[in-house]
């Protein structure tokens, strides 16, 4: 026995399970050494993670792996543990408990954490050897031993526990049949559709099912031999596992005269009807509800520990609970209600039988109140957060079923970072996982998104994971991180892109120096982030007037070629609408040989890429290409790249219009323009859409009736399918609408916004209102686009190859040999 000083309050804990010991842990955190603690446990073990028994049964974990607190923990914290000596009586008047071993222990405060016991139906034969429950280590030992010596098992109960037991036994080589009273499996957590998918998948894995099967008796002589159902079917078995459910273990509390319904009745502070006695875990009933899942138990442990420690904590609030099935390779998630309760509720479902994916969301008053996921549970945490936050999902509703990536993480809710495993990838571009970000934050004391970016590179590339990184940061810092509503352009200023653009026009700022001075830039020269943006904004605002600053351009736009990893460049001549001819191909072949260009490749934009050109050779290469009529393809530009086409009505038997010809007209109209980010177009000659117009910034799909103009598509990191802007009848209209759309994008999008991001932000309705509904505005946009094109449609290669522009760019200052 530990020496216990008598002046400490004595806390006796009945139950050495997860809820009881978590409460003790929480108490030790809050008030270490405050109590003299004695724990009684019915099982002859230290505290272990009961949830993982199914993993032990399946052979995925060893018993040692699931121990939560080893002996040493009890010793270190001066906790007296009586394992294998269950309490059999409580005397609330005398404030003592009595154990089966005859020990009488006085208490000042008593914590009941007796958990639950398997539900045992009145079926004959349950006392035969070979029948067990699935509740504790002893049961698992019985099952493992049976699997080693016998072949056939029957599990009675097709709920969460029963299926995990069945799967574990199957993994151990037994042939397993599941008897389930209801028509579909896990009917408490899954709707019928998901339950059927689950049965189909488990059936493929060799489990047999007897649904709507009521067990009449378990038969056998001296040992179990099988199960007989009420409809006469017999299933032979060497092992029968009863897993039809659990009920709170309340017998002690009842005998002691405490208030008991289904569970031991507790208030919001988890006290029972006796002020000195608390109850937590599966044995407790709070506001009419009992709990069989772990999440509420953790909350109970905290609230109870507050009270035991004499702290004034928040009351226990029944949380939403969610369920996952622990069968490797089968992904099931369920939370909240399973089906619409009445006309006021709506169900949104997605089902793909071929891939075995099923999702159902139940919506009530624009709040998500139920989620059932089968086969793809990637968004489970997000949906669950939306439910817990009672977030308004009205705006997200059309995309909600497709998950967070599609519906966006723009509303307050986010995934449960705490529940996310450390190896969850947060940043796909740079391969940074949650654990690495948390480690960097802790080790280096990071407090801002910029610092996390700098140290881990997470969200430093495409930025689509920025929201997630901020949530990881907030989680690691234990609170909210201030997120500016409008991000600043860079560290030189606090102003966002839109504010700077507005000021450029409103104050007639016409040089970068003017902008930086007028708007209080912190660095006189700006930086590598803001200079290209300002250069673009000024170019767009003052066409023909602002002088382009090449030293504010990224090297590709300065050298009119794409820098490669070894410092060489790639050269892509324009092929209008993807058309070429023998003379052009010959010139390309000649250039490749003459300058020993190592790689010649066909691009995705229907042109030819010459890779590995030395910088000093660029003007000569361009000069040779120019002679064959080839000009820059601007493959390096935040500007018009390509117009991809199919052969259309000229050759194709399905073609409805001259898509190639229209593509060339579009490319001739748009080439040379600078835009906030790169712009790609495509024209398909019929709705078969061979030119893939529906993932382009502007796509045109020809029909018998005319042309569908599509906008805002993207085939990059985050695929976005275009929206239909308008249907028109003539090529002239296509040109005007396309140019007007690009001018609107040029004037209003932020630098480095693709059209997809911008359209997603401002909305299709806005684009339609400005371009389709307002014809005057469309024509004005078109005119401004044409005006701006007057100054830029000069081949930059010809200027440098033969007109002496930027000659110094391509020569070393000196050669010292």
């Amino acid at each position: 026995m530990n020496m216990i000083s008598r002046d400490k309050p004595r806390l006796v804990v009945v139950g050495n399970g997860m809820a009881g010991m978590r409460t003790v842990e929480e108490l030790l955190k809050r008030a270490p050494g405050r109590h003299a603690i004695t724990v009684f446990g019915a099982e002859p073990h230290v505290n272990y993670n009961r949830i993982l028994l199914s993993s032990v049964l399946a052979g995925e974990k060893a018993m040692d792996d699931i121990v939560i607190n080893p002996r040493a923990w009890y010793d270190d914290n001066a906790i007296t543990l009586h394992a294998g000596d269950p309490v059999v009586a409580i005397d609330p008047a005398a404030k003592t408990v009595t154990s089966a071993g005859g020990r009488v222990e006085p208490y000042d405060q008593l914590l009941l954490a007796t958990g639950s016991k398997p539900l045992v139906p009145p079926i004959p034969g349950l006392d035969l050897p070979g029948v067990c429950a699935f509740r504790d280590i002893h049961d698992v030992e019985t099952m493992i031993e049976a699997a080693e010596n016998h072949r056939r098992a029957v599990v009675i109960g097709g709920g969460l526990l029963g299926l995990e037991a069945a799967w574990g036994l199957a993994r151990r080589g037994m042939s397993v049949a599941v008897v389930h009273l209801m028509a579909t499996l896990m009917e408490r957590q899954l709707d019928a559709a998901a339950g059927q998918l689950l049965q189909r998948d488990l059936d493929k894995r060799g489990l047999a099912f007897f649904t709507e099967g009521q067990t009449e008796e378990v038969y056998g002589e001296g040992h179990v031999a099988g199960v007989r159902l009420t409809d006469g079917r017999e299933i032979p078995a060497d092992l029968v596992v009863m897993a039809i459910g659990i009920r709170p273990e309340v017998s002690l509390a009842k005998k002691a005269g405490l208030g008991v319904n289904r569970g031991i009745v507790v208030g919001d502070d988890l006290r029972t009807t006796d002020d000195s006695i608390y109850a937590v875990g599966e044995c407790a009933e709070h506001r009419g509800q009992v709990f069989g899942l772990v999440a509420p138990l953790w909350d109970m442990a905290k609230v109870c520990a507050d009270s035991l420690a004499g702290l004034d904590g928040p009351p226990f609030v029944t949380p939403s609970v969610s369920t996952r099935l622990k069968i490797t390779g089968i992904d099931v998630f369920s939370a909240g209600i399973l089906a619409a309760a009445d006309d006021g509720d709506d169900e949104i479902t997605f089902a793909d039988a071929a891939t075995g994916v099923y999702k159902k969301l139940v919506v009530r008053d624009d709040r998500l109140v139920g989620t059932v996921l089968y086969g793809d549970v990637g968004d489970a945490a997000w949906y669950f957060q939306l439910m817990q936050d009672k977030a308004d999902i009205g705006a997200l509703r059309p995309q909600l079923i497709f998950g967070q990536a599609f519906a966006g993480s723009t509303i307050g809710a986010g995934p449960d970072i705490g529940a996310m495993p450390d190896d969850t990838q947060i940043c796909g571009c740079n391969g940074v996982c949650k654990g690495a970000i948390i480690a960097a934050i802790k080790e280096k004391g990071l407090t801002s998104l910029d610092e996390v970016r700098a140290h881990t590179k997470a969200s430093a590339s495409c930025g689509s994971c920025t929201g997630l990184v901020q949530q990881v940061l907030a989680y690691a810092l234990g609170g909210k991180v201030d997120v500016q509503a409008v991000p600043a352009i860079c560290k030189c200023t606090d102003l966002g892109h839109d504010a700077v653009r507005d000021a450029i026009r409103a104050k007639s700022l016409k040089t970068q120096a003017n902008v930086r001075a007028a708007l209080g830039w912190r660095n006189e020269d700006g930086c590598a982030k803001c200079r290209p943006a300002l250069n673009y904004y000024l170019l767009c605002a003052w066409p023909g007037e602002y002088v382009d600053d090449k030293y504010s351009r990224f090297i590709n736009e300065r050298a009119h070629a794409n820098i490669q990893k070894d410092g060489t460049y790639s050269v892509v001549p324009r092929m209008w609408g993807g058309l070429t001819n023998p003379a052009e191909l010959r010139a390309i072949a000649d250039v490749a040989e003459k300058y020993a260009i190592p790689t010649v490749k066909v691009t995705g934009g229907q042109r030819i890429d010459l890779l590995g050109v030395k910088k000093e050779d660029l003007p000569k290469v361009w000069g040779d290409l120019n002679k064959a009529g080839l000009v820059s393809g601007h493959a390096y530009a935040k500007g018009l790249r390509t117009v991809k086409t199919c052969v259309g009505s000229e050759w194709c038997r399905f073609g409805t219009q001259d898509s190639t010809g229209l593509g060339i007209k579009l490319e001739k109209l748009l080439w040379g323009s600078w835009t906030p980010h790169k712009v790609k177009l495509a024209v398909s000659g019929c709705p078969r859409n061979c030119a893939e117009a529906s993932i382009k910034d502007v796509g045109v799909v020809c029909t018998e009736a005319g042309y569908d103009i599509l906008i805002g598509g993207n085939g990059g990191i985050e695929v976005r399918v275009t929206d239909l802007l308008v249907q028109v009848k003539t090529e002239e209209e296509v040109l005007e609408y396309a140019a007007a759309f690009l001018q609107l994008y040029r004037e209003e999008a932020r630098y480095l916004d693709r059209t997809a991001h911008w359209v997603a932000r401002v909305g299709l309705d806005y684009c339609r209102a400005r371009i389709v509904d307002d014809a005057d505005n469309r024509r004005a946009l078109y005119r401004r686009f044409l005006e701006s094109q007057r100054f830029v449609q000069n081949d930059p290669w010809a200027e440098r190859a033969s007109q002496g522009v930027d000659a110094l760019e391509f020569q070393p200052l000196a050669t010292v040999v």
């Binding site: 280096k444 610092e451 700098a454 140290h455 660095n523 006189e524 020269d525 700006g526 930086c527 590598a528 200079r531 290209p532 030293y551 504010s552 990224f554 090297i555 300065r558 050298a559 820098i563 990893k565 070894d566 410092g567 110094l808 070393p812 200052l813 000196a814 050669t815 010292v816 040999v817």
Partner: protein
């Protein structure tokens, strides 16, 4: 042994830009900042060897064109948290001419 070599006039280097000097062993990037100071570094980013001469110059720093590391022109050191250093080459301006101290036994200059 290092020798001071005249590599050209200050005006031959664009303000907020850079030019390269090719030596037998190496390529050197010579930067001119907004305040008309000149710095020289080996033309290889300490990260993945990117040509620093092609980066955007701002203040007394250059941003590498390959992966946006920022390098201090005076020291050649990468700005934290990145770690690394591009070797410095001594440089001076005299009478509008830019001189580099180049390790080269028998230099022959041609422009």
């Amino acid at each position: 042994m290092a020798r001071w070599i005249d590599i050209g006039r200050l005006e031959d280097i664009p303000r907020l830009g850079a030019r390269t000097v090719v030596t037998a062993a190496d390529e050197i990037a010579v930067f001119r900042t907004g305040d008309d100071q000149v710095f020289a570094l080996k033309n290889r980013c300490p990260h993945k060897g990117g040509p620093l001469s092609e980066g955007i110059v701002h203040g007394h720093k250059v941003t590498c064109p390959l992966h946006n590391w920022v390098i201090e022109l005076e020291s050649g050191a990468a700005v934290a948290p990145d770690v690394g250093c591009a070797p410095r080459i001594p440089v001076k301006i005299e009478d509008g001419l830019v001189w580099l101290a180049i390790e080269d036994r028998e230099p022959v200059l041609s422009t």
